[in-house]
Structure formats: structure tokens, C-alpha cells
């Protein structure tokens, strides 16, 4: 009886459901992606799929194009998101909660619905769908992920640091660039990672907002994976994407200088 109690109350016991879940839905799929990437349709080991990717100019072009869209989207989100977060974090800003609410409100609705609505909005205003609409939609979807981590770091920042900078002779502008910006970098890194990674692999938004005219890397993978005899090639593309995303997250991790973490990642 005592032994049973010990087992029930041990942390190790409670970890098991999670370990099982992770194994089933995170580790196993990753292994499967790896296995499919290195095998042909009959299950024999091969590197032909990789060779195909590096000679397949359309895939590489789509890949580069997706990266570029992601970089643009991240940059736009940063340009819009940083000032918004900064304004909300100001001490004399009276309604930060309301503003935060307004930014987060669209996220209550599924992003597909929102994208469909965006399409309708563009149609209603007579604006053409395409690259511009795609960037608008991406930005609309991912902006909150940029604002939040930055707002978090800015809000936690000790105001006396800014006062200290001004006391030492820094104008408002100088204290912003020399103190506020460097100290908010952890938040910025988090924001960049949280916007960049999902944008690279996005596909539904691109399909809807460009009438399937512009193909992103995510769409490409989806196409191949759903086509039975090209599943292995799709796995290679997924693996390439995974590696690239993995690399960008290292870029965010490398900031021991910033001290405090951004909060979301």
C-alpha cells in the first residue's frame, strides 16, 4: 500500500503520459520524416531525393522566395510591432490593457477564417490579390507574436535605467538607442523567431490570398506529401526546412548579453 502511494506520488510516474505523448507525436514523426527522406518508394536506402532537390531549380527558387517573404514579413512586423510595444509600455500610457486587448482580439478567431475574411475585404475594396495581399495577410496574422515578447521585455525594464542614461547626458533619442533598444533585444529575438519560423512554412494563407498563384515552400511540401509517389521527396523538403528553422532558433539563443528573456520562447 505504502509502495503504491510512493509510485503514485512520484514525479516520475506523472511524467509518463507526457513522455508517451511526445514520443508518439513529436519524436516518431521526426524519425519518419528522416526515414522517408533517405528511402525510395520501395523502402530502399537512397540519396536520390536529396540530389533531386539540389538540381530541382523550381523547388530551390520557391524555397528562396519563401525565405524572402518570411524575412520581409518579419521586418514589417518588427517595424510596426516595436513602436507599438514601446508606446504600450510607457508609464504614462493609460490604456495598455485595452490596446493589448485590441491586438490580441483577432487571435480569438481561427486564422483561416480571418484569412478568408481578408480575401473578402480585398475583393470588396477592389484590390488585387497577390504578393501585396500575401504580405498584408501574413503581417496581420503574425503581428501579435512580435508585439508581445517586445512589450514584455520593455514593460519589465527598470525605468531608472532610462533616467540614469539621461542623467549621464543622453538625450531621449540617445537613451533609446543606447539603453532601451539593447535591453529589449531578448524580446526582439523572441519576436523574430516566433514570426519568421511559422511564416517560412506557411501555405494556407498563401493559397487563399494569392488564389494559389504564388507557391510558398509550405505549399510545395503539402503538394508532394499528398501525392503518394512523391512522398519521399516531400520528406526531403520538410527536412531541409526543419534544418533551416533549427538554425534560426540558434540565432535567438545566443544572447546571454541581454540578461532577461523575452518571455514567449
Amino acid at each position: 500500500m505504502n509502495k503504491l502511494l510512493q509510485i503514485v506520488s512520484s514525479r516520475r510516474t506523472w511524467a509518463w503520459p507526457y513522455i508517451l505523448f511526445m514520443a508518439m507525436f513529436v519524436v516518431l514523426p521526426l524519425i519518419l520524416v528522416g526515414v522517408y527522406a533517405f528511402t525510395d518508394i520501395e523502402g530502399h536506402f537512397t540519396l536520390r531525393n536529396f540530389a533531386k532537390f539540389f538540381t530541382h531549380s523550381e523547388a530551390i527558387q520557391t524555397f528562396l522566395y519563401s525565405l524572402m517573404i518570411a524575412v520581409f514579413n518579419t521586418a514589417i512586423c518588427l517595424l510596426i510591432g516595436y513602436p507599438a510595444a514601446y508606446i504600450m509600455a510607457q508609464e504614462d500610457f493609460r490604456t495598455p490593457k485595452v490596446m493589448a486587448m485590441l491586438f490580441i482580439l483577432p487571435m480569438w478567431i481561427n486564422f483561416l477564417l480571418r484569412t478568408v475574411a481578408t480575401v473578402e475585404l480585398f475583393n470588396m475594396c477592389g484590390l488585387p490579390l497577390g504578393e501585396g495581399a500575401l504580405l498584408f495577410g501574413l503581417c496581420y496574422d503574425y503581428l501579435p507574436f512580435m508585439i508581445y515578447p517586445i512589450y514584455n521585455t520593455l514593460q519589465k525594464m527598470d525605468n531608472s535605467l532610462v533616467e540614469a542614461a539621461q542623467d549621464l547626458g543622453a538625450s531621449k533619442w540617445q537613451s533609446f538607442w543606447k539603453v532601451i533598444v539593447p535591453l529589449s533585444m531578448p524580446g526582439v529575438y523572441s519576436g523574430i523567431v516566433m514570426v519568421f519560423m511559422p511564416t517560412v512554412s506557411t501555405f494556407a494563407i498563401a493559397e487563399l490570398l494569392t488564389h494559389n498563384n504564388i507557391k510558398l515552400f509550405g505549399s510545395l511540401i503539402q503538394d508532394y506529401i499528398t501525392t503518394t509517389d512523391l512522398l519521399n521527396y516531400g520528406a526531403v523538403l520538410s527536412l531541409v526546412l526543419l534544418i533551416i528553422i533549427g538554425l534560426t532558433s540558434f540565432f535567438g539563443d545566443d544572447d546571454s548579453a541581454g540578461g532577461e528573456k523575452g518571455g514567449l520562447v
Binding site: 531608472s160 533616467e163 540614469a164 539621461q166 542623467d167 549621464l168 538625450s171 543606447k178 535591453l183 540578461g259
Partner: protein
């Protein structure tokens, strides 16, 4: 030309916050070049606001601040020749020690070699040589404080502002840093303005102390002035321990309190005027007496010379003596602290190197020069503006009060009157609902045989209450004034 001798002049500065409360109320202060001035007061007294107005982080609502004769009231902080050491150091966590200290110099675009030299010298001044490359979050509290000081003095400011710089350090460290700060002040020769709530720190460090409370300056003086000659009850109570008693100034150099007359050295308080008397606990001499002396005997020389001879350290001469019984005795390290109760019910706090156990009958004596006389700020009565109402009641303190009919003879409804209530006649209730008004105990003064309280009503009026009941600061009370306690006078 006389103006030039002051490096800082604060003229009638008030600071009102958005909720209408005054953080500073018509504060004026002049600081000489090279002076070490401490602004001392309890939390919320406005001392930090005053410092922030001088630094430029807050703008005064009215009044002006001059730096070297130049009006800087609205000048932004980065254009003022002052530097601040912040309470929580405010070091930049993304920079190492060197770059923290060099921050101000780099903004001025000074030559890198010059910067290096100056930073090294500042760090040496702050005893932090060799820490240049360290990250600030790997330093201890005391070390961070030193870096903060180095960062401020490296810019060679005319005035160094220090906002409770030692409050986050432990006691031992604080004492060491106090000595270092004092030395630093002598070495640099610049003006220090130092904010603290620690009276010991203020007395140790400063040339002059500014005591503040509730946005007002209560007294400005040298540490010895502030301690030995407090000008009002707040200062006497806030700085050190003290016995504060109500008394009467009979004539110049003669004062009456706790039922006896004493010689003193103060003059200029008029004749038979009410005063407050302050005696520091270490200024009362104690000696042991036979039990029967305590009852009845009063007046000079009541103690036999034999009693006094046993105690060499008690001054001989025609001093007024009085007697009591030791109630409690606590060892405080250097001295013993005793509470002595007289037959008339006055309690004295006394510090002595000798131990007198509870129950011991003792004689007490104080030298005339150790009796400090203060003008009474208010006396016996509270005065309020009032108005007679149609229903035979009187309106004051934003409430209706019943009064005795004879008080209202000759008055008509609508008449403006002066209302008088004795301090003694105000009753305080434990439960706010039981009072006509409710309020909060705002300030407590022990007057030897009773407590003198300042009660602030919820409407913001102050009233004074004398009571024997024990209340705590911040207690909520109901205020009751009986009809017969209310006196109505015509305005003259």
C-alpha cells in the same frame, strides 16, 4: 554678488501630483558650493521628489530651481551639470563595468585614451580598480554601488545627487560606505545632496541636515543643531529618542513642567506661555534614593547630600530634582534604557551607563542647558470654521454636530462661527461606524503622561486629540464629540 555663493537655490518650489496631493509644498533651500547636505524624512515626505526636481526627472508645478544662478526649472536632465547615484544603482546590465562608467564620457565623444584614463581614475576613487571587464550582474550590492558612484563622478559634475544610495546594503557594509562617501566628498570637493530616511546616516555624513515631513521643510541646521535644538515636535520625535512634555514658560530662563519649576537657558518665549519641552534620554542623571523620598518631596535640594555623594557622576548644585520608580530596564549594548514613572504619572525615558533594576526608587536631574524649549504649534483647543444650521445643529469638519442650546444663543441659522473643541474632549472609537466622522491616526507624540495624536479625517482635516489610550499609527478610528464639548464663538 551674494547670490554666487549658492550653487543650488530652490525657491518656493511646489509639486502637485495629478490627484491633487502636494508632494512638495512651497519648499525653499539654498546649498553652498562644496557642502554636504542631507535631506532627511520618513517615506513619503517628499525628499525624493525634491531630489528628482533638482535632477530634472520631475518638473516643479511652481517655483524655480537655480543651478549656479541659472534657472533650470524646466531644463531636461541631460543638460544639467548634476549626476545622480540611484537607489537601486541602475547600472546598465548590457554593459560591463568599464562601459558603464564610460557611458557619459562616450556620449560627450571624448578621446578614447582620455576616457580610459578618466574611467580608471574614477574606479580607483571608488575602490573598484581591476573590475573593468566584469559584468555588472556578477558584482555584489556594495560593488555595484561603487560602480554607480564611479559612473556619476567620472563626469566631474558640480553637484552629486544621491538617492538613498546605501539603503539596499547590510548594516556593516552601510557603515563602511558611509566613511568612504565622506572621504570621497572631501577628496572631490564638490557639492553632495544626499537623500535618506536614516537619521544616523544624516547626522554622521552631513554639514547640514534638511528635515522634511509631508512636503514641508521642518528644520534646516547642522547635525548638532538638529539634535540638540529641535524647533518642533516632529524633529524632536524623528531625530533620536526624546522625552517631549507640555510645559509653561514662566519667564525667561524659567520653565515649569511635570509639576515643578526648572531653570533653563532659553529666552524669548514670553511669560506664562505654553511650550513643549524636550529632554534627551541621555541628558537625565539618575541616582538611587531611599523609598520615602519619592513621595511628596519636591523642590530644589530635596535629596540629601548623602544620597548624591554616593553618585559622583551626578552634578552638584542647585538643580531641580524629581523622583520616580524604575518601571523597566533594557540593556542596549553601550547603555541601559530605563522607563521611570513619577508619582504624578509622568513617564521618562532615560539612558544611563548604570543599571537600575525595575522597582528601584530614583532621583532625576537635568542640567538647564539640556532642556530644549519649543514653541507650541497648537494648544488646548482645536479651532474649526463652522456654520449654524436651521435644525439647531452646527456644520463643521464636513459634518453636522449637535451642540448645547445655550451655545447658540444670539446666533441665527446661516451665521459663520468659530468652533472650539478641547484636545481632551474628543473621543476616539475603535469602530469607525460609531463615530460621527471617521479618520486615521496620522501622528503620535508621547507627552510623558498622555498621548498627543493627530487624526486626519477622511475629508482631509487634521484634528488634535489628547488621550491616555494607546493607538497605533494608521489605526482607523471613529470620532465622537459630545455636544457639551463644543464651544461656539463669534468671529472677531
Amino acid at each position: 554678488m551674494a547670490k554666487d555663493q549658492f550653487i543650488i537655490e530652490v525657491n518656493h518650489v511646489s509639486k502637485q501630483f495629478e490627484d491633487g496631493k502636494f508632494a512638495l509644498n512651497d519648499v525653499s533651500l539654498q546649498v553652498k558650493k562644496g557642502e554636504f547636505v542631507t535631506i532627511l524624512g520618513p517615506s513619503g515626505c517628499g525628499k525624493t521628489t525634491l531630489l528628482r526636481c533638482i535632477a530634472g526627472f520631475q518638473v516643479a508645478s511652481s517655483g524655480e530651481i537655480l543651478l549656479k544662478g541659472e534657472d533650470v526649472t524646466k531644463t531636461p536632465p541631460y543638460k544639467r551639470p548634476v549626476n545622480t547615484v540611484f537607489q537601486k544603482y541602475a547600472l546598465f546590465p548590457h554593459l560591463n563595468v568599464f562601459n558603464n562608467v564610460a557611458f557619459g564620457l562616450k556620449l560627450k565623444k571624448e578621446d578614447p585614451e582620455v576616457i580610459k584614463k578618466k574611467v580608471r581614475r574614477a574606479l580607483k576613487m571608488a575602490n573598484m580598480t581591476g573590475y573593468e571587464e566584469r559584468k555588472v550582474d556578477t558584482l555584489s550590492g556594495g560593488q555595484q554601488q561603487r560602480v554607480a558612484i564611479a559612473r556619476a563622478i567620472v563626469n566631474e559634475p558640480e553637484v552629486l545627487l544621491l538617492d538613498e544610495p546605501l539603503s539596499a546594503l547590510d548594516l556593516k557594509m552601510r557603515h563602511d560606505m558611509q566613511i568612504e562617501l565622506k572621504e570621497l566628498h572631501e577628496k572631490l570637493g564638490i557639492t553632495f545632496i544626499y537623500v535618506t530616511h536614516d537619521q544616523e546616516e544624516a547626522l554622521t555624513l552631513s554639514d547640514r541636515v534638511v528635515v522634511m515631513n509631508e512636503g514641508n521643510i521642518k528644520q534646516i541646521g547642522t547635525p548638532t543643531d538638529i539634535y540638540n535644538e529641535p524647533q518642533n515636535c516632529f524633529v524632536a520625535d524623528f531625530i533620536g529618542e526624546s522625552n517631549i512634555l507640555s510645559g509653561t514658560m514662566i519667564r525667561d530662563k524659567r520653565v515649569e513642567f511635570c509639576g515643578q519649576e526648572f531653570d533653563c537657558i532659553d529666552t524669548g518665549f514670553g511669560e506664562n506661555n505654553p511650550v513643549d519641552v524636550v529632554i534627551r534620554p541621555e541628558d537625565i542623571y539618575l541616582w538611587k534614593v531611599q523609598g520615602d523620598k519619592v513621595q511628596g518631596d519636591k523642590g530644589p535640594d530635596a535629596a540629601s547630600q548623602a544620597d548624591l555623594d554616593e553618585e559622583d557622576r551626578v552634578p552638584k548644585g542647585k538643580f531641580t530634582k524629581w523622583y520616580g520608580e524604575v518601571q523597566s530596564c533594557i540593556f542596549k549594548g553601550v547603555h541601559y534604557e530605563m522607563r521611570v514613572l513619577t508619582a504624578d504619572g509622568y513617564e521618562f525615558l532615560i539612558q544611563d551607563y548604570h543599571e537600575y533594576l525595575p522597582g528601584t526608587q530614583v532621583g532625576m536631574l537635568v542640567r538647564p542647558e539640556d532642556i530644549q524649549i519649543m514653541k507650541k504649534e497648537h494648544y488646548i483647543y482645536n479651532y474649526f470654521e463652522g456654520e449654524v444650521l436651521k435644525n439647531g445643529k452646527v456644520w463643521f469638519l464636513d459634518a453636522e454636530w449637535e451642540v448645547e442650546e445655550k451655545q447658540l444663543e444670539g446666533f441665527e441659522a446661516g451665521d459663520k462661527v468659530q468652533v472650539r473643541v478641547k484636545f481632551r474632549d474628543i473621543d476616539l472609537q475603535d469602530y469607525e461606524e460609531e463615530g460621527t466622522l471617521s479618520g486615521e491616526v496620522h501622528f503620535i507624540l508621547y507627552k510623558g503622561n498622555h498621548y498627543h495624536l493627530t487624526i486626519r479625517t477622511d475629508e482631509g482635516h487634521d484634528l488634535y486629540v489628547n488621550t491616555n489610550d494607546v493607538w497605533d499609527d494608521g489605526d482607523r478610528v471613529g470620532i465622537v464629540i459630545k455636544p457639551k464639548a463644543i464651544k461656539i464663538d463669534r468671529y472677531e
